[in-house]
Structure formats: structure tokens, C-alpha cells
Amino acid sequence: MKFLMLIFKNLRRNMVRSLLTSAGIMVLVFVITLIWSILGFLDMATSEKAANFKGIVTEKWSIPSQLPFSYAATLEDGAAREESDVKPMDSMTWQFFIGSVDKTNIGFSTFIFAFCMEPKKLLTMMDELDSLQPGPRATLDTAIKAMEGNRQGIIVGQKRLAAIEKKVGDKIKVFGINYRDIELECEIVGTFPPGRYDNNTCINRDYLNASLDAFKAAKGRPHPLAEKTLNLVWVKVPTKDAFSKMSNQIDSSPMFAAPPVKIETASSGVSNFLAAYKDLLMILRYLLAPAIIITLTVVISNAISISVRERRKEMAVLKVIGFQPNQIILLVLGEAILLGVVAGAISSIGTYYFVNRVIGGIPFQIAFFSSFPVLDGALWWGAAIGFITSFAGSILPALSTRSIKVVDVFSKVA
């Protein structure tokens, strides 16, 4: 565009003012980039969990957690004893079975890592599988029905299936690694949708438990892990209150004396901790961030108003020479927007690279977070903030040039 040169020259005219205005934009965009990154990151860390509030019950003092399966029923009830006690909305037990499809050769192409669980819980308690699109959900549901009809049926992730060179419908033997001398004879009835569970396997918990019973019947003694098969219990609760009530129920239950158990959740931990910072975060989000945007608009508006007022005569000359009123308006808007977009983009993109690449995150201690990355959005939002605020700040001064009369240019006083 031919007028770009004119816009550049006008910005260069008052270098000091242009630089000060840019510096103001950069500082404010820098601050808002930090605020939005922290808020955005905390949102991501808590949002999924706030909508899907799960607790994990594990052995209290020991890692790995190994509980007797006799705990399962009580824990799935949230250790509720009284009528008024809280029960989970849903629950799920996990027993890990690590095995190999080849008894002697254990490696990448034979390895199996399986959750032994109630098949139907796949659709209600597993992250991501609980929110599938209708198509994949129906496919998975068909496999679950097959597992329920045949307790030796298993679901294998697609990458794992490829690694062991099997397909749906094949029958395989899985030799226990953690469960020594337990051999499961399985039939592959389906796979997981691609993604998070590509390398996992799901086995019906009834089949594992029955295999351990069969071991005892055959050998005349229980399997060494017989009382240690339950690794985790997941419970879903509606609210934080319900969660803490259930936590009390579990802590005070006489059922779980040896070994003792604990309930916790990363997401509730985040949310609970952040509750203490609620006011601070509200102020950042609803007061500081908007105030910065408004300040930015005012800074730009002020600079552009002054620059327009200084140049009314020049703009009258441009009109005399033949510039249309709209072209003058565009020149003013162009100056403001060029300044705003360039300064805003430099600031937020610079912040992104500096914080993420050089200092490795925004050091800001809140709850158990101590460092925040600048979000990818910063690559564009500086330019967007610059555009919006410079447009908002310059539209009135720009429109005010319409009142500049061409006849003024010949008036006595220059």
C-alpha cells in the first residue's frame, strides 16, 4: 500500500512519543501475558477434574499399594455404614496384571500390561473413555458386552495388538510376571479407540480372581499374592464436601486396620488448595486483566488524540490535495494499529520465548505450583490485544478528522 510509507513517517515524526507509547503497550501486554498464562494453566489443571471429581483409595504406607480384594466391596461403597453416610456416585477397582504372551521370551513384542476390572466401568470411570463420541463409544460397548458374556475376553490397545502381532478374535495365553504361575487364557474381543490406551489391556477382574481360586484348589495353598491383589479403588463423588465426608468415613472405618488405606485425588488437591487463593485469582481475572486492557486503550487513545490535534492543518492540506475523508481516517487508524499490533506482538511473543526457553516458566508460587509456562496463545494474543485496543483507542480521534474543513487551510493564521 502506497500510504504505508506515510504512516511510517508519521510514526517516526515523534519518535519519543511513538517509543514511549510502544513501551507502554509492551509492558502492559507483558503483564497480561503472565496473568493469562497463570489463569489459563490453572484452568486447565482444575477444569477437567472439577467436572469429574474422582478420588483414589490406596494402601496408606506402602508403595506399590497392595490391598486384599475383600476391601473392594466396602471401598466401592465409600465405607458407608450409616444411613446418612456418603456413597460414591460410581466406582472402579484396579488390579494390575503384568504378563507376557511368551513364557520364556519377555520383551517389547510379548509384554502385556493389564487393568483387571469390571468391564462396564471402562465407559463410566476411565478418563477419556467416559467421554467418547457416539461411534467409538458404541464400538467399545460391543467389546465390553463380549467381555461380560465371556469372562476370558480381553480388550487390547491397538499398538499393543500390533506389537504382539495379534488381531481381534485371536486367542492368546498370558503368562503372569507379577502373578507367578498364573496363566490366563484370553480371547481378544476388541480394542480401545486410538490414543491414551494404545498400549494397555483390560482383563475382566472375575477371571483373575477365579484363576487365583483355581490355583489354590489345584496346589492346596493360596497364591503368594492372594491377599494383595487390589491395587487401587476409584470413587466418583459429586462435591468436595462429599469427598471429605467420605474421606472421614474411610479413615474412621474399623474395616481397614491392616493394612490401612488412604483416599486422595490430585484434582481435589489442586482445587482445595486453590480455594485459598480464590480472591487473588478473582482479582487477577476480573479486575487486573480488564483494567490493563482499559489502560492500554487509554494510553493509545491519548497518544493518537494528541497526534491528530497537532496535525489538523496537515490533514486539511491532505484533503485540499484530494484525500478523501475516509482515507484520512484510515491513515490515523493505520498508525495506531501498526503501533499496537507490532508492539503487542513483540511483547507477547518475546515473553513466550524468554519465559519458556530462557527462564523455564513464570516463577509464581501458588498452591503446589511453583512455575507456569506461557501458553501458546501468547504467540497471537499480543497482536490481537494490540489490534483491539489500538482500534478502540484511535477510532474516536480518527473520526474527529471528519470535522477538519478544507477552507480552514487558507485561513489567516497558519
Binding site: K2, V317, I321, F323, S411
Partner: protein
């Protein structure tokens, strides 16, 4: 003066509202200017010289009457049409030069061409030709602040002629210059008129400046008079 007039002002009046009062600045005024003529408009301060020049140059619209320049009726055009017409057909020379301070002499001269559908090469040719005509081709990269008043006015004249306009209007073009520079500017206008056959309308209250023109018209009480009271200008 047998040629067809290029500027025709007929029965033009212009009045302004000042509060509830109506001030008649021009009253039923007629003026014809033939193509290629250098006309000086004189008159006491406040007599309406600038008002008349503004009307002819399409910066203002008459309250009554018609103004034609070439084959265009200027008095009925709207603001946007006037802007486009001025760009192509009128060159303006101002008392205070009114160059854009951020642009070089060359860029100031090129400015009116930016509004026309011309290639960068064509613009460059035309702007450099205009600068040569005023004798400032070697100063093309100077900023206005690096030029003398007379040189700035010559850049102003180059900007006025760069679109090869039908008409050049100048309001007190020498009013802010010393006698020597004023003399040079008037020489330049005379040269342009003769060599390029430009029609020039110049407002001045300096009789010596006016005498450089082909014809002098005097404005008094809203009308043109041929024989003025010369004593009005004796100070010169």
C-alpha cells in the same frame, strides 16, 4: 482575450451566518478567466478574495450562482467528487507552503500522485520533472526544515503542478517571503504560465506582485471593480 474562458463564475453569492446575522461576502459576482491567463485578485483585507478563490478551487460551495471550470460545474459537486476533482484539476500554492514536515521535498511533490492510478515509475518521472521545473531537483531528499522559505515555496509550486492541473490557485504566495524570494517565486509562476500555458489565479494585496499578472481584478464590497482606489495599496 478572445479565447473561451476556462473559469466561468456567474451570479455567484456567498453569505455566512454569524449568529442570527447574515454576512454577504460575495454579491452576484461574475468573472471569466480565459485559458492560460495569469490573473491577480486584489482587494482590501476581508473583501472576500480568499472566499472567491475557495469557491473556484472547489473548497467551498456558493450560496447562489454557478461556477464552471473547463467542462465541469464545480458548484454542484459533492464533497467526495470535489476532492477527486481538485486532485486532478487544481494545483494549490499556500502562503505558508503547508508542506508535510515528515516528508522529503520529493515525497511532498509525489503526494498528490499517490491518489492517482499511476505506477511507481510514472510517479517518480512526474515528480522529478516538477522538481526540475522549479529548479530543485538536487534538493529532492531534503526535508522542508532543511530548506529556505523560498525553496519551500518552490516545492509547494512543484506539488501544485505535478498532476498537470487545469488551474493553479495561489493565495498570497509571496506573503511570507522576503522581497528577493518573492521576486523569484513570481518569476517562476510567470514562467510556468508562459511555457506550460497554465491558468493561474493569484490573490495578493501587494501591487508589485499583482503587476506581474496579465490582468488585475479588484474585489470591493462583494463585487469586482476594474478601477480601484489605488491609494488602498500604496504601502505595497
Amino acid at each position: 482575450m478572445t479565447e473561451k474562458p476556462i473559469v466561468r463564475v456567474s451570479h455567484v453569492s456567498r453569505y455566512f451566518k454569524r449568529g442570527s446575522e447574515r454576512v454577504n461576502v460575495l454579491n452576484d459576482l461574475d468573472l471569466n478567466v480565459p485559458e492560460g491567463q495569469f490573473l491577480a485578485l486584489m482587494g482590501p483585507s476581508g473583501s472576500g478574495k480568499t472566499t472567491l478563490l475557495n469557491l473556484i478551487a472547489g473548497l467551498d460551495t456558493p450560496s447562489e450562482g454557478e461556477i464552471w471550470v473547463g467542462d465541469r460545474c464545480v458548484s454542484t459537486m459533492n464533497e467526495s467528487q470535489l476532492a477527486r476533482w481538485r486532485n486532478e484539476h487544481v494545483g494549490f500554492v499556500f502562503q505558508f507552503y503547508h508542506l508535510l514536515p515528515v516528508l522529503s521535498a520529493y515525497e511532498n511533490v509525489e503526494l498528490p500522485l499517490l491518489l492517482l492510478p499511476l505506477s511507481a515509475k510514472k510517479r517518480r518521472e512526474q515528480a522529478m520533472t516538477a522538481l526540475e521545473l522549479v529548479g530543485l531537483e538536487d534538493r529532492n531528499s531534503h526535508l522542508p526544515s532543511q530548506l529556505s522559505g523560498g525553496q519551500q515555496q518552490r516545492v509547494g509550486i512543484a506539488r501544485a503542478i505535478v498532476t498537470d492541473p487545469t488551474l493553479i490557485v495561489a493565495d498570497e504566495p509571496t506573503g511570507d517571503l522576503d522581497a528577493k524570494s518573492a521576486h523569484e517565486i513570481l518569476d517562476l509562476l510567470g514562467t510556468l504560465q508562459r511555457s506550460l500555458n497554465k491558468t493561474i489565479l493569484m490573490v495578493t494585496h501587494d501591487l508589485r506582485a499583482a503587476r506581474r499578472a496579465d490582468r488585475i481584478q479588484h474585489l470591493d464590497k462583494g463585487r469586482l471593480v476594474d478601477q480601484p482606489d489605488e491609494s488602498l495599496y500604496e504601502a505595497g
